[in-house]
């Protein structure tokens, strides 16, 4: 009989401890997922969107300007990015047709899809005004 009483009292205490711990865990576990979800959403909002081409306009500018022949002057630069396609339009003046031809060749890199001049520059007299549109792959 004493064993039974002592055992019953021990079980009652254990049951109380269990209930207390269970309610603590439940309360804490309710808060944590909310906080974790918020952090995940914040990081997702800062993650760069995967809209394909990731070439920075400044990088394209740099490459174009570094490779252009000396006698070509660029007066306008237009960069557009839409539907995973990057297009750069350049306007400028060239001293000679040869320089413009050389410029056309420097633009034709493996990353470039098309290089289109506004019109034929073969018959134009110097200084030659030009507009060129470069589409990247």
């Amino acid at each position: 009989m004493p064993s039974y009483i002592s055992l019953s009292s021990g079980i009652k205490t254990l049951q109380e401890q269990f209930d207390e711990k269970k309610s603590f865990s439940m309360a804490t576990s309710k808060e944590i997922p909310g906080q974790l979800t918020l952090i995940t959403q914040q990081l997702a909002a800062l993650r760069p969107t995967s809209d394909g081409v990731g070439v920075a306009p400044s990088r394209l500018m740099e490459v174009i300007l570094n490779n252009k022949p000396k006698n070509i002057e660029i007066n306008a630069f237009l960069f557009t990015k839409a539907n995973n396609a990057i297009t750069v339009q350049l306007s400028g003046v060239s001293d000679t047709r040869e320089d413009l031809l050389a410029f056309q060749k420097t633009l034709q890199t493996p990353e470039v899809q098309t290089v289109k001049f506004g019109g034929s520059f073969i018959t134009k007299q110097a200084p030659i005004d030009f507009v060129v549109t470069v589409t990247f792959k």
Binding site: R47, A76, S91
Partner: protein, 174 residues
Amino acid sequence: MKRAIHLLIILILIDLVCATGMWFGFAHLRDKKVEEISLIDQVEEETRLGQDLLSLKRTLLTTDRAQSEITKYLYDVSEEGQIKFVTQIEQLGTTTGVMIETQSLEVGTDSQPSMRAVFSLKGSWAQTYHFLRLLETFPTNLTLTRFEVKRGSQYIDEWSGSAVALISSIRPPR
């Protein structure tokens, strides 16, 4: 003799009752012991879980500072958020010496919230290029969808144009 037999039967019956009682008590105590062991295990398990949750909660609290760093680069679509973004871009202009004017700011209503801002700019080639580099490395999810600069005159190093930026770092609703 007959009396002795009766006594013997009574004693046997008493023995049987006592044995049954003992067996019942023992079985009940055994069940209680099993229940106690199971409860001890459950309490230990809950204690472990509680400690894990507590330590996770403490870790999350320590990320508060990092989180406030993150939220600096998240914008909400409220007027305050829009002003915050425009001000930060205009500050880039001040840093680089480029004159920046905000032409428009639209809030996207797609499933993925965004803001589309159009800025006009004016400065020397070096200043404009510096501004562009800062825009590209702006620590938020900013996509330049259009950047245009034109030289004002052949003899002066003055460039003017516009930039269209799409911002998709929008603060998630709490």
